[in-house]
């Protein structure tokens, strides 16, 4: 049987792991799928959502190992005035975790994020964003092992429109043997 993975989100001070149901950007350190704590459209300049720590955790299967994890988005144009940023350096799981406590831009304020990019820079037929697994042997070869974090954040400028954004598809590719 192939390896199986859960998509997880870490929140809270400790942090606490939960299965990601949907990546909703808001102004809270949570995984809620309600309309609470919506992002604010700034009068001028840019504002940000709370950042979100996402990763894969192996839940089972018969396999030798999984590696070569790559991320990409659907590349579709975002709604006006919005941009989803993704961390582009390795953010170590759990040691690189930094709880979201405000609407701060992640490169300037997250202790584990040193660079980020528009998620649309990464597409299926173009460049993909490689990310690794928890340090050690750099592979996932048993249940319970995890990848490093992909940290996401929504950037909102004054030209954005109120309401729910168009949904976006994010994809992971990996090799299994």
């Amino acid at each position: 049987m192939a390896a199986t993975f859960d998509v997880e989100i870490d929140t809270g001070a400790t942090p606490t792991m939960a299965s990601l149901t949907n990546l909703r950007f808001n102004e809270a350190d949570d995984n809620d799928q309600d309309t609470g704590n919506p992002c604010q459209i700034p009068g001028a300049g840019t504002d940000y959502s709370y950042w979100k720590h996402i990763y894969l955790r192996c839940t089972g299967g018969t396999f030798t190992q999984c590696d070569n994890f790559q991320y990409y988005s659907d590349g579709a144009a975002m709604d006006t005035g919005t941009l989803i940023k993704v961390s582009t350096n390795e953010v170590l799981n759990d040691s690189g975790y930094d709880q979201a406590t405000g609407t701060d831009e992640m490169v300037a304020n997250h202790t584990g994020v040193t660079s980020s990019a528009d998620c649309n820079n990464y597409t299926s037929g173009g460049s993909k964003l490689a990310f690794s697994v928890v340090p050690g042997d750099d592979i996932i070869d048993t249940s319970g092992e995890e990848t490093n974090y992909l940290v996401f954040q929504l950037e909102i400028s004054s030209t954005a429109s109120p309401g729910q954004m168009t949904s976006k598809t994010h994809t992971i590719q990996y090799d299994e043997i």
Binding site: N22, T64, N68, T171, I172, Q173, E176
Partner: protein, 140 residues
């Protein structure tokens, strides 16, 4: 279409991914230096899809299942049906340079062959070579 593999050694012995009792053998346990053929077969029908022959002592196996997974919750059952492309090939060293012969086998059964990886592509990008893939100093 879903596939599984079978290794055939130089003395005719077979080492299949799935044993008759349903247990599964691992890629890391394939005896690479004894490989004569690496065969990909279709699950349920056992129809042979692709056969890779090893005719030179310096040729070494590469095999990966390249899996595409949306970043959303999925059941184990749903994960069994993810878009998957098999990478089956061999590599060797020639004058110190790693060379490859690669086949990408898609779920619809079509096969694309290449002689190198390609960074910016959906499926042809390089794999990470692991211990089981390592060339052991033999140069063609």
């Amino acid at each position: 279409m879903k596939f599984y593999w079978k290794a055939i050694y130089d003395d005719g012995e077979e080492f299949p991914q799935y044993n008759e009792d349903g247990s599964e053998n691992l890629y890391k346990d394939i005896k690479r230096k004894r490989l004569s053929q690496f065969v990909l077969l279709q699950v349920n029908t056992d129809v042979v899809i692709y056969v890779l022959h090893f005719t030179k002592p310096w040729q070494r196996l590469i095999c990966r299942r390249r899996i595409v997974r949306p970043l959303i919750p999925m059941t184990a059952k749903e994960q069994e049906n993810l878009e998957t492309v098999w990478l089956v090939g061999q590599h060797w060293k020639h004058k110190g340079q790693r060379q490859q012969k690669l086949a990408f086998i898609f779920q619809d059964g079509h096969i694309e062959e290449r002689d190198c990886f390609e960074e910016e592509s959906k499926f042809y990008y390089p794999c990470t070579f692991v211990l089981e893939d390592e060339l052991d100093g033999v140069d063609s």
